[in-house]
């Protein structure tokens, strides 16, 4: 079915753009997805992997909200690992090594088959604006497209500038043209531009690697799906490989620092500290003479290998010598060299929590353009932007996400509420309610909302309801079922737990640190539950029983925060006029313009006294009692 006049134009089919288009189209809004090269749809510009701590949780949330990322990940997964298995369920996180080509293929298949999405190959060069509202876009060939909303997801492309040694040239990423006209246009429209940078390591020809001298890192045996609702066919699984830098590598880097764009004084943009270049690592951490490197295959039928850990912006010939100084890579050939890239992005504090620009209405921004980094972060924002753009057109209420219910909410609140001063990435430590924000319960947390919004259908919500019921049944079973000392003592002895002298409920038993649900059911027989059922819910049941105290404390704090989030701060409130707030506090408030009391409470530099005064001030502005 051909898409008629688009209502929404999405600029750029990266990770953010695909989710934005998908979410809007799922709400029945016709979307035009304009991208410079559809063959590069959802291209992974950097490492060929999805997930990881916090990011993995986010992908699950995107899936629970009907997004596409998990499905593409499952379809392209050539190695799976669950991280943090030695820790509790809250911080366990799935990570997948993706076949780069298959990922693009899977995403493209999904996007292009959506009846409400039309993909065109075009470079957008300007927005059409009148009366403070965006009205459409113009492409580099002069074609105009009208739209009632535009979602900007141009990634690292805006004024993108690749740097290798002392050389630099405009590009969106290696092999793709930069988007310069649009960047000029956006600045002229008053978007507050910032300059960030990132970098990528060289790719090697796998045939020239001496694998015998590397350490193999196989994936997990278990089959895992990022998607709660869809089942992809499992691809052949591959291993990653580990090696390390030598004294020679270090010497090469330090001796040639002047030649690197980063240390030669060429780069202006701010880079992410959590993703340092090898130059950074050797300079900033002189005590660590050796750095681990990981070879990640880029796909099943490609020989290209991603050299994780050697991100740099050295001239090509230095890069080659660096690679050859690494054990097992003495003969390795570089297929593509590493580079640094600088790009424009825009201060996310100029966004509403819906990701609509507060400067230009109808314009939504998502992904790298908001100063974040990472595929998952981009995808999450894309979903929020697409969803809200569509709902605005349908005259429906906006949807925002709270820190209390998702990593998505944490990210949005962090960037919109506080701004970013380096490319922003999610970490589990950013989520103060992370015991609740788990990969295993993303569906329970978000699918009901998704269903209500129309992002998922009845079959999907039925799956979630069934899981919920199963959980409840299991909890009930544990509290209801009591066992006699004679029955249970041999088990307790076997796990080194004190013996029982009266009948005890399974729940009570499970509270003991030595008792695990798996071993307990193993001993007693699973009774009413099938192994498959148990697998789905075991970790969370155990968590809920064993760490109830922690969960309750988190819940109490969540409640308070939620209530503070309900208190909106009028967008026209003049903070500078509230003289009883400390000078620093006023400045902070004016700069970040928190939209809720909760956001204000998280601003550094604001004292409890300032907050009290702010509340009184809000009261004067005719705040009504929050509903409920």
């Amino acid at each position: 079915m051909p898409v008629k006049d688009p209502e929404i134009v999405v600029i750029g089919a990266g990770h953010a753009g695909c989710e934005a288009a998908w979410a809007a189209a799922n709400l029945g809004v016709p979307v035009l997805l304009a991208t410079s090269d559809p063959a590069n749809m959802a291209q992974m510009s950097c490492n060929p992997s999805v997930g990881g701590v916090a990011k993995g949780q986010l992908v699950r949330e995107i899936d629970a909200l009907g997004g596409v990322m998990a499905r593409a990940t499952d379809a392209a997964s050539i190695q799976f690992r669950m991280l943090n298995t030695g820790k509790g369920p809250a911080v366990r996180a799935p990570r997948s090594q993706s076949d780069r080509k298959l990922y693009v293929q899977a995403m493209r298949g999904l996007i292009e088959s959506h009846p409400h999405i039309r993909v065109i190959r075009a470079m957008v060069s300007a927005l059409e604006v009148s009366g403070g509202r965006v009205r459409g876009v113009v492409t580099s060939s002069g074609q105009r497209y009208c739209a009632r909303a535009v979602v900007l997801t141009a990634g690292t492309f805006l004024n993108g500038l690749i740097r290798i040694g002392d050389r630099s040239f405009p590009a969106g990423r290696a092999g793709d043209p930069a988007s310069e006209d649009l960047a000029v246009n956006l600045k002229a429209l008053g978007l507050p531009a910032m300059r960030f940078k990132t970098g990528t390591p060289p790719r090697l020809d796998g045939r020239t690697v001496d694998y015998a001298r590397l350490v193999e890192q196989p994936g997990d045996d278990t089959e895992y799906f990022f998607s709660f609702f869809h089942r992809a066919e499992r691809l052949p699984q591959v291993s990653c490989w580990q090696t390390r830098t030598s004294a020679e590598t270090r010497r090469l880097v330090l001796d040639n620092l002047k030649l690197s764009s980063l240390y030669g004084g060429y780069v202006e943009g701010r880079g992410p500290r959590y993703c340092p270049s090898i130059e950074d690592k050797f300079v900033r951490f002189p005590e660590r003479e050796i750095q681990h490197l990981f070879l990640e295959p880029e796909g099943i039928d490609t020989r290209e290998v991603y050299l994780n850990g050697l991100s740099n912006s050295m001239p090509h010939e230095v890069q080659e010598r660096m690679v050859h100084s690494v054990e097992g890579l003495e003969q390795a050939e570089i297929v593509r060299h590493g580079y640094a890239i600088e790009y424009d992005c825009y201060d996310p504090r100029a966004l509403k929590p819906t990701l609509e620009s507060s400067i230009l209405s109808g314009l939504y921004l998502a992904g790298q353009v908001n100063g974040t980094s990472g595929y998952e972060e981009a995808a999450g924002q894309g979903l929020v932007a697409g969803l809200n753009a569509a709902r605005a057109l349908q005259d429906r209420q906006e949807v925002t996400f709270s820190r209390t219910e998702s990593y998505l909410g944490v990210m949005l609140d962090d960037i919109v509420g506080r701004g970013v001063d380096e490319p922003y990435r999610l970490f589990s430590s950013r989520a103060e309610f992370r015991l609740h924000l788990r990969q295993d319960n993303a569906d329970l947390r978000l699918a009901p909302l998704a269903y209500e919004l129309g992002l998922i259908g009845p079959e999907q919500i039925a799956v979630v309801e069934a899981k919920k019921a199963l959980l409840a049944r299991c909890r009930d079973f544990l509290s209801r079922t009591r066992v006699s000392p004679e029955r249970i003592n041999p088990y307790l002895e076997s796990v080194g737990s004190a013996s029982a002298d009266s009948w005890l409920s399974l729940e009570k038993l499970l509270r003991r640190p030595e008792v695990s649900l798996a071993s307990l059911f193993g001993f007693l027989g699973p009774w009413e539950f099938t192994a498959e059922e148990l697998e789905k819910i075991l970790p969370q049941v155990e968590l809920e029983v064993k760490y109830a105290g922690y969960l309750d404390r988190e819940l109490a704090r969540m409640d308070q925060l939620r209530r503070m989030e309900e208190v909106k701060i009028p967008p026209d409130l003049d903070f500078s006029a509230i003289s009883t707030i400390s000078h620093e506090g006023r400045e902070r408030l004016a700069r970040c313009r928190p939209s809720t009391l909760g956001q204000a409470s998280r601003l550094p530099g604001l004292t409890p006294g300032d907050l009290s005064v702010l509340m009184v001030e809000l009261g004067k502005h005719g705040r009504k009692r929050p509903a409920g």
Binding site: V53, L83, G88, Y274, S429, R553, R562, S612, P626
Partner: protein, 463 residues
């Protein structure tokens, strides 16, 4: 926000908070407020007579005895008012206790409330709750109160800083240590593919130990500070005729006689003040009681019930010419020796070769011998770490200046004690965070992305 889902707010998970709502140390009456879903239950646990407490109607005040039931002693007689949500100043269930002013009684009431399940309120928390529940005028008043409080606390902090070091500095460094440890845990959580840190559990153990010990030290000082501010309640105990009244007169100074003593909060006994080496002692003699009851056998029981449990210091007097064991048992059962002094009186009657028993300070109240030793011992009990020198030595170092600070430290300590070093890192991290937040409340610092800052500056992360 959209959709019905958001309007069905879960509620009732808010915890219950307590705070002394009048500036501590001043005024004859103090108000202690408890607010939150468990406020009424907490109030009930404070009441010596729960049935009487339950019978109070909301908004009606009743005079009743408050007790620390966990420790089994009375605190005070106080006016208690219950307010029912939403008709209260925070919009939650509230119990308001009007008790004797000063530091000790409000501290004891708040302490008992905490033991009964409440938590020390954070700065501005009453205002916040009032505000969130649409109690604007009250929130406004409360906000002003917060500011006054903050100023009062600052004054006291400054005053004490003159004496010792800065509490903020020390607490800040403890908090920093906790966040350092948390950063190490978070590094392990957020970067599982990096090199794991070695020796973390040892660092964790020693770090937690250090923080806990320092907090304990501060708390020990806190007790003393609060004592000094209000005077040390010192009960002179012992069997009849051992010479208690004589000793009492000696200690308060000859010119004061029992007859002119004002019956104090202890009502049935005589209370007089004596300043010894700059420390105020509120000496209690029980002569009045003896005369009124005339029941010699019951005196021991009366003592323990009414006075001994409340005393900061007990001076147990024994007649050196009589036996010791029986008397000591009946009076002093269960009392910790940290707040007990034993005195052998009437040593003037002693034959040369006989000595006063071990651990007893020999005095003669009649002749005045040994009184200097007794006075010195009394001061040392209060200032155990360093006997007060002429320059106020014992106040060297940071001081806890307020009940709020003390309660926050106690909260933090309780959290640190619950840390299970064997638990998965995220749970330990949660406890460290919570403890650090409690400490932040003392310093007024606001936690930010400090943990990530620490990770990035200390560890080489990112493959």
């Amino acid at each position: 926000m959209a959709e019905s889902r958001y309007s069905t707010r879960q509620s009732g998970r808010e915890d219950t908070i307590v705070a002394v709502s009048t500036a501590p140390g001043v005024g004859a009456v103090a108000v202690v407020r408890v607010s939150g879903p468990l406020a009424w239950e907490v109030g009930e646990k404070l009441a010596a007579d729960p049935a009487k407490y339950r019978a109070i109607e909301p908004r009606r005040s009743a005079l009743m005895t408050l007790a620390d039931r966990a420790r089994g002693h009375e605190i005070d007689r106080a006016l208690v008012v219950k307010y029912q949500a939403p008709a209260s100043f925070t919009g939650e269930d509230v119990v308001e206790v009007q008790c004797h002013g000063g530091l000790a009684v409000p501290a004891a009431v708040a302490g008992a409330a905490i033991a009964a399940g409440a938590r020390q309120a954070a700065a501005g928390e009453f205002t916040l709750r009032a505000f969130l529940n649409g109690k604007l005028d009250l929130a406004q008043a409360e906000a002003v109160d917060d500011l006054v409080h903050a100023r009062g606390e600052l004054d006291r902090r400054l005053a004490l800083q003159g004496l010792g070091g800065s509490l903020g500095g020390l607490v800040g460094s403890l908090r920093s240590l906790l966040l350092d440890l948390k950063a190490e845990l978070e590094y392990g959580i957020d970067f599982p593919e990096e090199e794991p840190l070695t020796g973390l559990s040892a660092r964790l153990e020693s770090g937690l130990c250090r923080v806990a010990e320092t907090v304990e030290g501060l708390l020990a000082g806190a007790r003393r500070n609060l004592l000094i501010a209000r005077g040390v309640l010192t009960v002179i105990a012992g069997e009849p005729n051992v010479g208690k009244s004589t000793l009492f007169n000696r200690l308060v100074g000859e010119e004061r006689s029992i007859v002119t003593g004002t019956p104090g909060t202890t009502r049935d006994a005589v209370e007089m003040e004596a300043m010894i080496d700059g420390v105020l002692f509120r000496l209690v003699d029980t002569a009045g009681l003896r005369e009124e009851t005339g029941e010699v056998e019951r005196i021991g029981v009366e003592y323990s019930r009414r006075y001994l449990v409340r005393a900061d210091l007990v001076v147990f007097v024994h007649d050196v010419t009589g036996p010791v064991d029986r008397a000591e048992k009946s009076f002093l059962a269960g009392r910790d020796t940290g707040s007990l002094l034993r005195v052998s009186n009437k040593i003037d009657l002693l034959q040369k070769e006989r000595k006063s028993p071990e651990g007893f300070i020999p005095v003669s109240a009649v002749e005045g011998t040994g009184l200097d030793e007794l006075r010195r011992a009394m001061v040392e009990k209060v200032l155990p770490s360093a006997p007060a020198g002429p320059d106020g030595d014992s106040f060297r170092g940071p001081q806890v200046a307020s009940l709020r600070q003390k309660n926050l430290l106690e909260d933090a300590l309780a959290i640190l004690r619950r840390v299970d070093p064997g638990a998965s890192a995220e749970y330990i991290a949660a406890d460290l965070q919570e403890a650090a937040e409690r400490l932040s409340e003392i310093t007024g610092a606001i936690t930010d992305e400090q943990v990530l800052e620490r990770i990035f500056s200390r560890f080489c992360v990112g493959k």
